[in-house]
Symmetry: C2
Subunit: 260 residues, 2 copies
DNA sequence: ACTTTCAGTTCGTTC
DNA sequence: GAACGAAGTGAAAGT
Protein backbone atom coordinates (compact mmCIF):
# COMPACT_ATOMS: atom_id res chain seq x y z
CA UNK A 1 0.00 0.00 0.00
CA UNK A 2 1.31 3.37 -0.98
CA UNK A 3 -0.72 5.33 1.51
CA UNK A 4 -3.30 4.79 4.20
CA UNK A 5 -4.87 7.89 5.70
CA UNK A 6 -7.48 7.60 8.40
CA UNK A 7 -9.75 10.59 8.82
CA UNK A 8 -7.52 12.95 6.85
CA UNK A 9 -8.51 16.59 6.73
CA UNK A 10 -9.51 17.96 3.34
CA UNK A 11 -6.17 19.66 2.74
CA UNK A 12 -4.29 16.47 3.29
CA UNK A 13 -6.69 14.50 1.15
CA UNK A 14 -6.55 17.05 -1.64
CA UNK A 15 -2.79 16.87 -1.70
CA UNK A 16 -2.78 13.09 -1.98
CA UNK A 17 -5.49 13.06 -4.60
CA UNK A 18 -3.70 15.71 -6.58
CA UNK A 19 -0.59 13.64 -6.56
CA UNK A 20 -2.07 10.25 -7.43
CA UNK A 21 -5.35 10.84 -9.23
CA UNK A 22 -3.85 11.29 -12.65
CA UNK A 23 -1.40 8.44 -12.33
CA UNK A 24 -1.88 4.71 -12.48
CA UNK A 25 -2.92 4.10 -8.90
CA UNK A 26 -5.96 2.58 -7.34
CA UNK A 27 -7.50 5.03 -4.90
CA UNK A 28 -10.17 4.08 -2.40
CA UNK A 29 -12.08 6.69 -0.45
CA UNK A 30 -14.61 5.85 2.22
CA UNK A 31 -16.61 8.84 3.17
CA UNK A 32 -19.77 10.88 3.35
CA UNK A 33 -20.56 12.48 0.03
CA UNK A 34 -23.12 13.76 -2.44
CA UNK A 35 -22.92 12.92 -6.11
CA UNK A 36 -24.20 14.65 -9.21
CA UNK A 37 -24.06 13.33 -12.70
CA UNK A 38 -24.87 15.06 -15.94
CA UNK A 39 -24.45 13.74 -19.43
CA UNK A 40 -26.56 11.21 -21.28
CA UNK A 41 -28.97 11.61 -18.40
CA UNK A 42 -28.91 13.54 -15.17
CA UNK A 43 -28.82 12.22 -11.66
CA UNK A 44 -28.51 13.41 -8.12
CA UNK A 45 -27.54 11.49 -5.04
CA UNK A 46 -27.95 13.06 -1.63
CA UNK A 47 -25.65 12.75 1.32
CA UNK A 48 -24.64 9.23 2.25
CA UNK A 49 -21.63 7.15 3.15
CA UNK A 50 -20.03 5.49 0.17
CA UNK A 51 -16.95 3.88 -1.18
CA UNK A 52 -15.38 5.72 -4.09
CA UNK A 53 -12.86 3.86 -6.20
CA UNK A 54 -10.64 5.43 -8.80
CA UNK A 55 -9.04 2.78 -10.94
CA UNK A 56 -5.72 2.74 -12.73
CA UNK A 57 -7.24 3.35 -16.15
CA UNK A 58 -8.95 6.45 -14.69
CA UNK A 59 -12.36 4.86 -14.39
CA UNK A 60 -14.22 5.92 -11.26
CA UNK A 61 -16.96 4.17 -9.29
CA UNK A 62 -19.20 5.33 -6.47
CA UNK A 63 -20.45 2.31 -4.58
CA UNK A 64 -23.16 2.42 -1.99
CA UNK A 65 -23.43 -0.16 0.82
CA UNK A 66 -25.58 -2.43 -1.35
CA UNK A 67 -25.81 -3.84 -4.81
CA UNK A 68 -23.57 -5.18 -7.47
CA UNK A 69 -23.85 -1.93 -9.38
CA UNK A 70 -22.23 1.37 -8.51
CA UNK A 71 -24.60 4.25 -7.83
CA UNK A 72 -22.58 6.53 -10.08
CA UNK A 73 -19.56 5.98 -12.26
CA UNK A 74 -17.51 7.10 -15.20
CA UNK A 75 -16.00 4.34 -17.37
CA UNK A 76 -12.99 6.31 -18.44
CA UNK A 77 -12.24 9.85 -17.52
CA UNK A 78 -10.50 12.53 -19.57
CA UNK A 79 -9.75 14.90 -16.74
CA UNK A 80 -9.99 15.09 -12.99
CA UNK A 81 -10.17 18.18 -10.86
CA UNK A 82 -9.98 18.38 -7.06
CA UNK A 83 -10.80 21.35 -4.96
CA UNK A 84 -11.33 21.70 -1.26
CA UNK A 85 -12.12 24.24 1.42
CA UNK A 86 -12.94 23.86 5.08
CA UNK A 87 -16.37 22.46 4.34
CA UNK A 88 -15.90 19.97 1.59
CA UNK A 89 -13.68 18.33 -0.96
CA UNK A 90 -15.02 18.33 -4.50
CA UNK A 91 -13.86 15.82 -7.05
CA UNK A 92 -14.94 16.17 -10.66
CA UNK A 93 -14.47 13.52 -13.29
CA UNK A 94 -15.18 14.63 -16.84
CA UNK A 95 -15.09 12.92 -20.15
CA UNK A 96 -16.06 13.70 -23.70
CA UNK A 97 -17.79 11.51 -26.25
CA UNK A 98 -20.23 11.59 -24.80
CA UNK A 99 -19.83 14.77 -22.79
CA UNK A 100 -20.50 13.93 -19.19
CA UNK A 101 -19.36 14.77 -15.74
CA UNK A 102 -19.57 13.18 -12.32
CA UNK A 103 -19.13 15.47 -9.36
CA UNK A 104 -18.47 14.05 -5.91
CA UNK A 105 -18.71 16.35 -2.91
CA UNK A 106 -17.13 14.81 0.15
CA UNK A 107 -18.39 16.13 3.46
CA UNK A 108 -16.33 13.68 5.47
CA UNK A 109 -13.48 11.37 4.62
CA UNK A 110 -13.04 8.34 6.85
CA UNK A 111 -10.37 6.55 4.95
CA UNK A 112 -8.23 7.26 1.94
CA UNK A 113 -5.89 4.65 0.52
CA UNK A 114 -3.59 4.64 -2.46
CA UNK A 115 -2.40 1.35 -3.90
CA UNK A 116 -0.94 0.04 -7.11
CA UNK A 117 -2.45 -3.23 -8.22
CA UNK A 118 -0.52 -5.49 -10.56
CA UNK A 119 -2.70 -7.87 -12.49
CA UNK A 120 -1.53 -9.23 -15.80
CA UNK A 121 -3.76 -12.28 -15.98
CA UNK A 122 -6.74 -12.49 -18.27
CA UNK A 123 -10.12 -13.72 -17.26
CA UNK A 124 -10.87 -16.98 -19.02
CA UNK A 125 -14.53 -17.60 -19.35
CA UNK A 126 -16.58 -20.37 -20.88
CA UNK A 127 -20.30 -20.55 -21.43
CA UNK A 128 -20.87 -17.66 -23.81
CA UNK A 129 -23.33 -17.94 -26.62
CA UNK A 130 -20.53 -18.41 -29.12
CA UNK A 131 -19.45 -21.50 -27.18
CA UNK A 132 -22.82 -23.02 -28.00
CA UNK A 133 -22.21 -22.24 -31.68
CA UNK A 134 -18.90 -24.02 -31.61
CA UNK A 135 -20.37 -26.86 -29.65
CA UNK A 136 -23.02 -27.34 -32.33
CA UNK A 137 -20.46 -27.20 -35.10
CA UNK A 138 -18.34 -29.76 -33.25
CA UNK A 139 -21.27 -32.09 -32.68
CA UNK A 140 -24.49 -31.21 -34.53
CA UNK A 141 -26.21 -34.21 -32.93
CA UNK A 142 -26.82 -32.16 -29.80
CA UNK A 143 -29.42 -30.29 -31.83
CA UNK A 144 -30.74 -33.18 -33.87
CA UNK A 145 -29.45 -36.44 -35.25
CA UNK A 146 -28.08 -36.50 -38.78
CA UNK A 147 -27.92 -32.72 -38.94
CA UNK A 148 -25.24 -31.30 -41.22
CA UNK A 149 -23.94 -27.80 -40.69
CA UNK A 150 -23.78 -25.85 -43.96
CA UNK A 151 -22.55 -22.51 -42.75
CA UNK A 152 -22.04 -20.46 -39.62
CA UNK A 153 -22.82 -16.76 -39.41
CA UNK A 154 -24.59 -16.88 -42.77
CA UNK A 155 -25.46 -13.42 -43.94
CA UNK A 156 -28.99 -12.54 -45.03
CA UNK A 157 -30.66 -9.17 -45.63
CA UNK A 158 -32.25 -9.63 -42.21
CA UNK A 159 -28.97 -10.18 -40.41
CA UNK A 160 -26.66 -13.07 -39.61
CA UNK A 161 -27.94 -16.59 -39.11
CA UNK A 162 -26.09 -18.28 -36.26
CA UNK A 163 -26.01 -21.74 -37.84
CA UNK A 164 -27.38 -22.77 -41.22
CA UNK A 165 -27.82 -26.51 -41.71
CA UNK A 166 -29.68 -29.34 -43.47
CA UNK A 167 -31.56 -32.14 -41.78
CA UNK A 168 -31.69 -35.81 -42.72
CA UNK A 169 -34.38 -35.07 -45.33
CA UNK A 170 -32.23 -32.34 -46.86
CA UNK A 171 -34.50 -29.60 -45.54
CA UNK A 172 -32.74 -26.38 -44.79
CA UNK A 173 -32.60 -25.56 -41.10
CA UNK A 174 -32.11 -22.10 -39.64
CA UNK A 175 -30.70 -22.30 -36.13
CA UNK A 176 -30.79 -19.35 -33.77
CA UNK A 177 -28.80 -19.71 -30.58
CA UNK A 178 -29.69 -17.71 -27.49
CA UNK A 179 -28.63 -17.89 -23.91
CA UNK A 180 -31.68 -15.99 -22.75
CA UNK A 181 -34.41 -16.30 -25.37
CA UNK A 182 -37.40 -13.97 -25.43
CA UNK A 183 -40.11 -12.74 -27.79
CA UNK A 184 -37.65 -10.85 -29.90
CA UNK A 185 -35.62 -13.99 -30.40
CA UNK A 186 -38.68 -15.62 -31.93
CA UNK A 187 -39.32 -12.66 -34.21
CA UNK A 188 -35.69 -12.68 -35.25
CA UNK A 189 -35.76 -16.39 -36.09
CA UNK A 190 -38.99 -15.86 -37.99
CA UNK A 191 -37.34 -13.16 -40.05
CA UNK A 192 -34.41 -15.41 -40.93
CA UNK A 193 -36.73 -18.23 -41.96
CA UNK A 194 -38.70 -15.81 -44.13
CA UNK A 195 -35.50 -14.65 -45.78
CA UNK A 196 -34.32 -18.19 -46.44
CA UNK A 197 -37.72 -19.15 -47.82
CA UNK A 198 -37.37 -16.37 -50.38
CA UNK A 199 -33.85 -17.39 -51.25
CA UNK A 200 -34.28 -21.16 -51.43
CA UNK A 201 -38.04 -21.86 -51.45
CA UNK A 202 -39.32 -25.13 -50.10
CA UNK A 203 -39.80 -26.19 -46.50
CA UNK A 204 -37.48 -24.27 -44.22
CA UNK A 205 -37.26 -25.25 -40.58
CA UNK A 206 -36.39 -22.81 -37.83
CA UNK A 207 -34.92 -24.05 -34.58
CA UNK A 208 -34.24 -22.00 -31.48
CA UNK A 209 -31.45 -23.53 -29.44
CA UNK A 210 -31.19 -22.34 -25.86
CA UNK A 211 -30.31 -23.61 -22.39
CA UNK A 212 -33.67 -22.50 -21.05
CA UNK A 213 -37.13 -21.56 -22.20
CA UNK A 214 -40.35 -20.16 -20.83
CA UNK A 215 -43.84 -21.37 -21.67
CA UNK A 216 -45.00 -18.13 -23.22
CA UNK A 217 -42.06 -17.83 -25.55
CA UNK A 218 -42.37 -21.51 -26.43
CA UNK A 219 -46.03 -21.04 -27.36
CA UNK A 220 -45.20 -18.00 -29.39
CA UNK A 221 -42.52 -20.01 -31.15
CA UNK A 222 -44.70 -23.02 -31.91
CA UNK A 223 -47.57 -20.85 -33.11
CA UNK A 224 -45.23 -19.86 -35.88
CA UNK A 225 -44.25 -23.41 -36.72
CA UNK A 226 -40.80 -22.99 -35.24
CA UNK A 227 -39.05 -25.47 -33.01
CA UNK A 228 -37.10 -25.45 -29.78
CA UNK A 229 -34.17 -27.57 -28.73
CA UNK A 230 -32.75 -27.36 -25.24
CA UNK A 231 -29.03 -27.60 -24.69
CA UNK A 232 -27.39 -28.21 -21.37
CA UNK A 233 -24.93 -25.44 -20.68
CA UNK A 234 -22.79 -27.79 -18.62
CA UNK A 235 -22.46 -30.09 -21.63
CA UNK A 236 -21.39 -27.15 -23.75
CA UNK A 237 -18.76 -26.16 -21.22
CA UNK A 238 -17.65 -29.78 -20.84
CA UNK A 239 -17.32 -30.18 -24.60
CA UNK A 240 -15.29 -27.03 -24.69
CA UNK A 241 -13.00 -28.28 -21.98
CA UNK A 242 -12.57 -31.54 -23.88
CA UNK A 243 -11.37 -29.53 -26.85
CA UNK A 244 -9.09 -27.43 -24.66
CA UNK A 245 -7.63 -30.44 -22.99
CA UNK A 246 -6.98 -32.20 -26.26
CA UNK A 247 -4.76 -29.27 -27.12
CA UNK A 248 -1.70 -29.36 -24.94
CA UNK A 249 -0.97 -26.39 -22.77
CA UNK A 250 -4.45 -25.01 -22.79
CA UNK A 251 -5.65 -26.69 -19.65
CA UNK A 252 -6.86 -23.49 -18.11
CA UNK A 253 -10.08 -24.95 -16.91
CA UNK A 254 -8.88 -26.98 -14.02
CA UNK A 255 -10.80 -28.71 -11.30
CA UNK A 256 -14.47 -27.97 -10.86
CA UNK A 257 -15.75 -26.33 -7.74
CA UNK A 258 -19.09 -27.76 -6.89
CA UNK A 259 -21.72 -25.52 -5.40
CA UNK A 260 -22.17 -27.83 -2.42
CA UNK B 1 -14.00 2.56 10.32
CA UNK B 2 -14.50 -0.57 12.34
CA UNK B 3 -11.16 -2.13 11.50
CA UNK B 4 -8.08 -1.43 9.47
CA UNK B 5 -5.54 -4.23 9.19
CA UNK B 6 -2.39 -3.77 7.20
CA UNK B 7 -0.71 -6.95 6.02
CA UNK B 8 -2.60 -9.21 8.41
CA UNK B 9 -1.63 -12.85 8.49
CA UNK B 10 -4.21 -15.34 7.31
CA UNK B 11 -5.28 -16.34 10.81
CA UNK B 12 -5.99 -12.77 11.77
CA UNK B 13 -7.81 -12.11 8.51
CA UNK B 14 -9.87 -15.27 8.85
CA UNK B 15 -10.97 -14.25 12.29
CA UNK B 16 -12.10 -10.82 11.16
CA UNK B 17 -13.84 -12.18 8.09
CA UNK B 18 -15.56 -14.80 10.15
CA UNK B 19 -16.86 -12.16 12.48
CA UNK B 20 -18.04 -9.60 9.91
CA UNK B 21 -18.72 -11.44 6.66
CA UNK B 22 -22.23 -12.50 7.54
CA UNK B 23 -23.22 -9.20 9.06
CA UNK B 24 -24.08 -5.88 7.46
CA UNK B 25 -20.61 -4.50 7.03
CA UNK B 26 -18.67 -3.33 4.05
CA UNK B 27 -15.41 -5.24 3.81
CA UNK B 28 -12.57 -4.25 1.53
CA UNK B 29 -9.65 -6.54 0.89
CA UNK B 30 -6.65 -5.55 -1.20
CA UNK B 31 -4.54 -8.53 -2.02
CA UNK B 32 -3.08 -11.08 -4.36
CA UNK B 33 -5.61 -13.70 -5.29
CA UNK B 34 -6.96 -16.20 -7.79
CA UNK B 35 -10.65 -16.44 -8.56
CA UNK B 36 -12.84 -19.23 -9.88
CA UNK B 37 -16.45 -18.98 -10.79
CA UNK B 38 -18.87 -21.71 -11.68
CA UNK B 39 -22.55 -21.41 -12.32
CA UNK B 40 -24.33 -20.03 -15.35
CA UNK B 41 -20.91 -20.08 -16.96
CA UNK B 42 -17.46 -20.94 -15.75
CA UNK B 43 -14.49 -18.67 -15.38
CA UNK B 44 -10.98 -18.73 -14.09
CA UNK B 45 -8.77 -15.85 -13.11
CA UNK B 46 -5.11 -16.42 -12.36
CA UNK B 47 -3.02 -14.75 -9.72
CA UNK B 48 -3.19 -10.99 -9.62
CA UNK B 49 -3.62 -8.09 -7.23
CA UNK B 50 -7.20 -7.06 -6.81
CA UNK B 51 -9.66 -5.26 -4.63
CA UNK B 52 -12.39 -7.45 -3.21
CA UNK B 53 -15.47 -5.75 -1.81
CA UNK B 54 -18.14 -7.45 0.23
CA UNK B 55 -21.18 -5.26 0.51
CA UNK B 56 -23.75 -4.99 3.24
CA UNK B 57 -26.41 -6.89 1.32
CA UNK B 58 -23.88 -9.74 0.95
CA UNK B 59 -23.03 -8.96 -2.66
CA UNK B 60 -19.37 -9.45 -3.46
CA UNK B 61 -17.20 -7.88 -6.15
CA UNK B 62 -13.68 -8.65 -7.34
CA UNK B 63 -12.26 -5.58 -9.02
CA UNK B 64 -9.08 -5.54 -11.04
CA UNK B 65 -6.96 -2.39 -11.47
CA UNK B 66 -8.90 -1.39 -14.58
CA UNK B 67 -12.39 -1.17 -15.92
CA UNK B 68 -15.78 -0.18 -14.79
CA UNK B 69 -16.78 -3.80 -14.43
CA UNK B 70 -15.68 -6.23 -11.75
CA UNK B 71 -13.79 -9.27 -12.99
CA UNK B 72 -15.90 -11.58 -10.86
CA UNK B 73 -18.85 -11.05 -8.60
CA UNK B 74 -21.90 -12.48 -6.93
CA UNK B 75 -24.98 -10.23 -6.79
CA UNK B 76 -26.35 -11.64 -3.58
CA UNK B 77 -24.87 -14.48 -1.66
CA UNK B 78 -26.62 -17.16 0.38
CA UNK B 79 -23.63 -18.38 2.30
CA UNK B 80 -20.01 -17.51 2.85
CA UNK B 81 -17.27 -19.82 3.99
CA UNK B 82 -13.72 -18.85 4.96
CA UNK B 83 -10.85 -21.21 5.47
CA UNK B 84 -7.15 -20.55 5.79
CA UNK B 85 -3.86 -22.33 6.30
CA UNK B 86 -0.28 -21.11 6.14
CA UNK B 87 -0.40 -20.81 2.37
CA UNK B 88 -3.68 -19.17 1.56
CA UNK B 89 -7.03 -17.89 2.67
CA UNK B 90 -9.98 -19.22 0.72
CA UNK B 91 -13.26 -17.36 0.59
CA UNK B 92 -16.27 -19.00 -1.03
CA UNK B 93 -19.47 -17.17 -1.86
CA UNK B 94 -22.35 -19.40 -2.88
CA UNK B 95 -25.87 -18.76 -3.92
CA UNK B 96 -28.76 -20.73 -5.27
CA UNK B 97 -31.20 -19.80 -7.99
CA UNK B 98 -29.17 -20.02 -9.97
CA UNK B 99 -26.64 -22.29 -8.31
CA UNK B 100 -23.31 -20.63 -8.50
CA UNK B 101 -20.17 -20.15 -6.53
CA UNK B 102 -17.29 -17.72 -6.54
CA UNK B 103 -14.11 -18.90 -4.90
CA UNK B 104 -11.38 -16.43 -4.03
CA UNK B 105 -7.97 -17.74 -3.01
CA UNK B 106 -5.89 -15.07 -1.37
CA UNK B 107 -2.16 -15.63 -1.53
CA UNK B 108 -1.37 -12.30 0.11
CA UNK B 109 -3.46 -9.74 1.94
CA UNK B 110 -2.18 -6.18 1.89
CA UNK B 111 -5.09 -4.46 3.51
CA UNK B 112 -8.33 -5.51 5.13
CA UNK B 113 -10.87 -2.95 6.27
CA UNK B 114 -14.28 -3.27 7.83
CA UNK B 115 -16.69 -0.37 7.69
CA UNK B 116 -20.39 0.25 8.05
CA UNK B 117 -21.77 2.60 5.44
CA UNK B 118 -24.98 4.46 6.16
CA UNK B 119 -26.75 5.62 3.03
CA UNK B 120 -30.48 6.18 3.09
CA UNK B 121 -30.75 8.46 0.12
CA UNK B 122 -32.18 7.34 -3.18
CA UNK B 123 -30.61 8.06 -6.50
CA UNK B 124 -32.78 10.47 -8.40
CA UNK B 125 -32.31 10.12 -12.09
CA UNK B 126 -33.84 11.80 -15.08
CA UNK B 127 -33.56 10.86 -18.71
CA UNK B 128 -35.05 7.38 -18.64
CA UNK B 129 -37.33 6.17 -21.34
CA UNK B 130 -40.35 6.66 -19.12
CA UNK B 131 -39.47 10.36 -18.87
CA UNK B 132 -39.99 10.58 -22.62
CA UNK B 133 -43.41 8.98 -22.16
CA UNK B 134 -44.40 11.58 -19.61
CA UNK B 135 -42.96 14.31 -21.72
CA UNK B 136 -45.14 13.22 -24.63
CA UNK B 137 -48.19 13.01 -22.44
CA UNK B 138 -47.46 16.49 -21.11
CA UNK B 139 -46.97 17.95 -24.56
CA UNK B 140 -47.92 15.66 -27.48
CA UNK B 141 -46.83 18.35 -29.93
CA UNK B 142 -43.24 17.23 -29.54
CA UNK B 143 -44.24 14.17 -31.56
CA UNK B 144 -46.68 15.83 -33.95
CA UNK B 145 -49.03 18.76 -33.93
CA UNK B 146 -52.64 18.18 -33.00
CA UNK B 147 -51.88 14.75 -31.60
CA UNK B 148 -54.19 13.58 -28.81
CA UNK B 149 -53.05 10.92 -26.38
CA UNK B 150 -55.70 8.26 -25.86
CA UNK B 151 -53.92 5.93 -23.49
CA UNK B 152 -50.53 5.14 -22.03
CA UNK B 153 -49.26 1.60 -21.53
CA UNK B 154 -52.17 0.22 -23.53
CA UNK B 155 -52.24 -3.53 -23.28
CA UNK B 156 -52.45 -5.71 -26.37
CA UNK B 157 -51.87 -9.44 -26.85
CA UNK B 158 -48.46 -8.50 -28.22
CA UNK B 159 -47.45 -6.48 -25.17
CA UNK B 160 -47.84 -2.95 -23.91
CA UNK B 161 -48.02 0.01 -26.25
CA UNK B 162 -46.06 2.95 -24.84
CA UNK B 163 -48.43 5.65 -26.05
CA UNK B 164 -51.67 5.19 -27.97
CA UNK B 165 -53.00 8.31 -29.68
CA UNK B 166 -55.04 9.82 -32.53
CA UNK B 167 -53.79 12.30 -35.08
CA UNK B 168 -55.59 15.31 -36.50
CA UNK B 169 -57.39 13.08 -39.02
CA UNK B 170 -58.56 10.79 -36.24
CA UNK B 171 -56.20 8.02 -37.34
CA UNK B 172 -55.02 5.82 -34.53
CA UNK B 173 -51.32 6.21 -33.81
CA UNK B 174 -49.15 3.65 -32.06
CA UNK B 175 -46.11 5.26 -30.48
CA UNK B 176 -43.12 3.25 -29.38
CA UNK B 177 -40.52 5.10 -27.34
CA UNK B 178 -36.93 3.92 -27.21
CA UNK B 179 -33.75 5.40 -25.89
CA UNK B 180 -31.62 3.16 -28.08
CA UNK B 181 -33.70 1.88 -30.98
CA UNK B 182 -32.64 -1.13 -33.03
CA UNK B 183 -34.08 -3.73 -35.38
CA UNK B 184 -36.05 -5.35 -32.62
CA UNK B 185 -37.70 -2.06 -31.82
CA UNK B 186 -39.04 -1.94 -35.37
CA UNK B 187 -40.33 -5.49 -35.15
CA UNK B 188 -41.97 -4.69 -31.85
CA UNK B 189 -43.69 -1.59 -33.23
CA UNK B 190 -44.80 -3.61 -36.24
CA UNK B 191 -46.34 -6.18 -33.93
CA UNK B 192 -48.28 -3.53 -32.05
CA UNK B 193 -49.55 -1.94 -35.27
CA UNK B 194 -50.66 -5.36 -36.50
CA UNK B 195 -52.53 -5.95 -33.26
CA UNK B 196 -54.25 -2.58 -33.41
CA UNK B 197 -55.18 -3.13 -37.05
CA UNK B 198 -56.98 -6.29 -36.01
CA UNK B 199 -58.72 -4.58 -33.11
CA UNK B 200 -59.74 -1.34 -34.79
CA UNK B 201 -59.24 -1.84 -38.57
CA UNK B 202 -58.57 1.18 -40.74
CA UNK B 203 -55.34 3.05 -41.26
CA UNK B 204 -53.10 2.67 -38.23
CA UNK B 205 -49.90 4.71 -38.02
CA UNK B 206 -46.85 3.56 -36.13
CA UNK B 207 -44.31 6.08 -34.88
CA UNK B 208 -40.97 5.33 -33.28
CA UNK B 209 -39.89 8.14 -30.97
CA UNK B 210 -36.23 8.16 -29.99
CA UNK B 211 -33.38 10.57 -29.27
CA UNK B 212 -31.25 8.98 -31.96
CA UNK B 213 -31.52 6.78 -34.98
CA UNK B 214 -29.31 4.94 -37.45
CA UNK B 215 -29.78 4.80 -41.20
CA UNK B 216 -30.26 1.05 -41.38
CA UNK B 217 -32.93 0.96 -38.72
CA UNK B 218 -34.61 3.98 -40.30
CA UNK B 219 -34.73 2.24 -43.67
CA UNK B 220 -36.06 -0.90 -42.09
CA UNK B 221 -38.71 1.20 -40.39
CA UNK B 222 -39.78 3.07 -43.48
CA UNK B 223 -39.88 -0.09 -45.58
CA UNK B 224 -42.67 -1.13 -43.27
CA UNK B 225 -44.52 2.15 -43.61
CA UNK B 226 -43.61 3.18 -40.11
CA UNK B 227 -42.42 6.63 -39.07
CA UNK B 228 -39.68 8.12 -36.94
CA UNK B 229 -39.72 11.23 -34.78
CA UNK B 230 -36.59 12.46 -33.05
CA UNK B 231 -36.75 13.93 -29.56
CA UNK B 232 -34.03 15.87 -27.84
CA UNK B 233 -33.16 14.23 -24.55
CA UNK B 234 -32.16 17.56 -23.05
CA UNK B 235 -35.61 18.93 -23.80
CA UNK B 236 -37.14 15.95 -22.09
CA UNK B 237 -35.02 16.47 -19.01
CA UNK B 238 -35.72 20.21 -19.06
CA UNK B 239 -39.45 19.64 -19.35
CA UNK B 240 -39.25 17.27 -16.45
CA UNK B 241 -37.45 19.79 -14.34
CA UNK B 242 -40.05 22.38 -15.23
CA UNK B 243 -42.70 20.04 -13.86
CA UNK B 244 -40.64 19.31 -10.77
CA UNK B 245 -40.01 22.94 -10.09
CA UNK B 246 -43.67 23.84 -10.47
CA UNK B 247 -44.33 21.43 -7.64
CA UNK B 248 -43.02 22.80 -4.38
CA UNK B 249 -40.48 20.77 -2.52
CA UNK B 250 -39.45 18.64 -5.42
CA UNK B 251 -36.55 20.73 -6.55
CA UNK B 252 -34.14 17.89 -6.41
CA UNK B 253 -32.56 18.78 -9.69
CA UNK B 254 -30.60 21.79 -8.69
CA UNK B 255 -27.94 23.68 -10.56
CA UNK B 256 -26.47 22.16 -13.67
CA UNK B 257 -22.88 21.19 -13.79
CA UNK B 258 -21.52 21.94 -17.18
CA UNK B 259 -18.97 19.63 -18.69
CA UNK B 260 -16.55 22.48 -19.29
C1' DA C 1 -41.16 -15.98 -6.84
C1' DC C 2 -41.38 -15.37 -11.70
C1' DT C 3 -41.81 -12.58 -15.89
C1' DT C 4 -40.92 -8.60 -18.64
C1' DT C 5 -38.41 -4.67 -19.90
C1' DC C 6 -35.09 -0.98 -19.49
C1' DA C 7 -30.22 0.54 -18.74
C1' DG C 8 -26.27 7.06 -18.06
C1' DT C 9 -26.48 -0.19 -19.84
C1' DT C 10 -20.99 -1.82 -20.79
C1' DC C 11 -18.18 -4.36 -23.76
C1' DG C 12 -16.39 -6.51 -27.71
C1' DT C 13 -16.12 -7.17 -32.70
C1' DT C 14 -16.60 -5.76 -37.18
C1' DC C 15 -17.12 -2.84 -40.99
C1' DG D 1 -15.44 5.85 -35.48
C1' DA D 2 -20.12 4.07 -35.92
C1' DA D 3 -23.02 0.10 -35.42
C1' DC D 4 -24.60 -4.16 -34.14
C1' DG D 5 -25.35 -7.80 -30.63
C1' DA D 6 -24.24 -10.41 -26.29
C1' DA D 7 -23.87 -10.23 -21.14
C1' DG D 8 -22.38 -15.16 -15.61
C1' DT D 9 -25.95 -9.03 -18.04
C1' DG D 10 -28.29 -6.35 -13.30
C1' DA D 11 -32.26 -3.97 -11.38
C1' DA D 12 -37.00 -2.50 -11.04
C1' DA D 13 -41.78 -2.98 -11.69
C1' DG D 14 -45.69 -5.64 -12.33
C1' DT D 15 -48.19 -10.22 -11.72
Amino acid sequence: MKKILENPDFDEAEEVLHEYLKREFTIQVNGLCMVNYQGRAKSKLDKGERLVIKKQDSAILVHGPDNYQPKNWQPEVDSYTVKSDEEELVLKAKRTNPDEVVEIRFKEIDLLTVDQLVDKSDLKIRGHEVDIHESIEEDPDIVEECLKVVEREKETPAGFIDVFARDENENYVVIEVKRNPDYNTVLQLQRYVDEIEEEFSGNIRGILVAPKMTDKVLNYLEERGLEFVEVDMEDVIASYEAIDNSQKGLQDFGPDYSTD
